[in-house]
Symmetry: C2
């Protein structure tokens, strides 16, 4: 009924977590309705990752199961935070091993580098000569950055891309609320450099799939990311910035 193996039930009997209502002379364990209800509570807490011994205490003593849950929650949170750190370290290690370190000398949100002039020509070809002026605006901001600040910005950008990649590979839609929340960071990163309105930000989507350098930089983190990222940019422009796309 519960989908548990008999072995598990025996284990719970052994450790005293769930005793059968009676054990027949042939050794068979018999469980009643009360045991089923208790089992449901056990399975629920087990789902939450609470250790069996604690489950027993919570169900038996029942005095202040909330406090126990709170402590358990604190454990979970610190465990998650630790994982977060470890993931970041693994990311840095992978980046090191695959020689992505040079990227940290470039600047992310505008995708600068030695190829900066290429990007500018591309932008002007796509959006008109006026668009190139934003480069001056960005320069006004980044010009005063130290090398360290450049690297920080690049690292932050890569972290964001990796979080987006995580979302993509777990099947999350680019217009889901969770992704749009992440895109807020991207939009603000862009806004830091030049005053992109909804339409400009929407147009930016073409760049991440169409511009070879931009695309390559993103693909280095996740080969499947660029088109999904472009969708996310467009979704953010429409859903959060109120951009109304032109009808075809």
């Amino acid at each position: 009924m519960s989908g548990l193996t008999s072995r598990t039930l025996r284990h719970y009997d052994d450790i005293g977590l769930l005793r059968p209502v009676r054990t027949a002379s042939n050794g068979y364990r018999w469980y009643g309705r009360r045991e089923l209800l208790r089992l449901q509570r056990i399975l629920f807490l087990r789902e939450l990752g609470v250790p069996l011994t604690q489950i027993g205490r919570i169900l038996d003593g029942d005095r202040d199961g909330v406090a126990a849950l709170r402590r358990h929650r604190a454990d979970l949170v610190s465990h998650r935070d630790r994982l977060e750190e470890i993931i970041a370290t693994v990311d840095r290690t992978i980046a090191d091993l695959t020689g992505q370190a040079h990227l940290s000398e470039e600047e992310f949100f505008t995708g600068l580098s030695a190829r900066r002039d290429d990007l500018r020509r591309d932008v002007e070809a796509r959006y008109g000569a006026g668009a190139g002026e934003h480069f001056a605006s960005a320069d006004a901001v980044t010009g005063r950055w130290t090398r360290e600040e450049h690297e920080q910005a690049a690292a932050q950008g890569r972290r964001l891309l990796r979080r987006l990649s995580d979302a993509r590979s777990s099947g999350t839609a680019p217009d889901s609320a969770a992704v749009l929340d992440l895109m807020t960071e991207h939009y603000q990163g862009v806004r830091l450099l030049w005053p992109a309105d909804a339409a400009a930000y929407h147009a930016l989507a073409d760049l991440v799939t169409g511009n070879p350098d931009q695309r390559a930089m993103i693909e280095e983190i996740d080969p499947l990311l660029p088109p999904w990222f472009a969708d996310a940019i467009r979704a953010y422009a429409v859903r959060r910035l109120g951009y109304v796309p032109a009808r075809e």
Copy 2:
């Protein structure tokens, strides 16, 4: 030298992860410089949570340790996501057990409820009669919400408060980048309801410590949160919205 116990070294010898350079006739294990270097790599990978058997394969085969790391990273990410879900479930359970369910019928970002008129009077007393007009603006938005949407908004608000509480209790400063990122969600939640500019948002900080109902609602989630939350609001207004506080 490494801080490991001798037991651990013996274990690594047993499983073949780190063999001594030679074992003397008296059984003593002797390690050389090469072993120390290998140990350093072992400890690093162990820090990342890689299982010892995999560490052995990575260090020995060395063929495509990056791929192994990537797989490990995927494991970590899904583990973290699972933890995230569990934490959310535990939160809901605690809320249920402590009878916080009624809160879901209120609306979070403006802190409405039966005490709505009190809040309005408080706001008008603090910021002048004009400020009360924002209530009409909020009504225009929320008036069309279904009950479900109200509950969703309330739940999202509580989730945000809990994430802020997590940050606070782990010693993170209210003006750190990570917290300001979280505050983006809050600011956008507020913006959904009325057009708060930098100054208005900055002023809002007084409300979360000064208004009894607001304060109580937040304290129910974390008794120490209100003043820290107020600091975070002010920090966000200054650092991300460009608000310039008046000098005293």
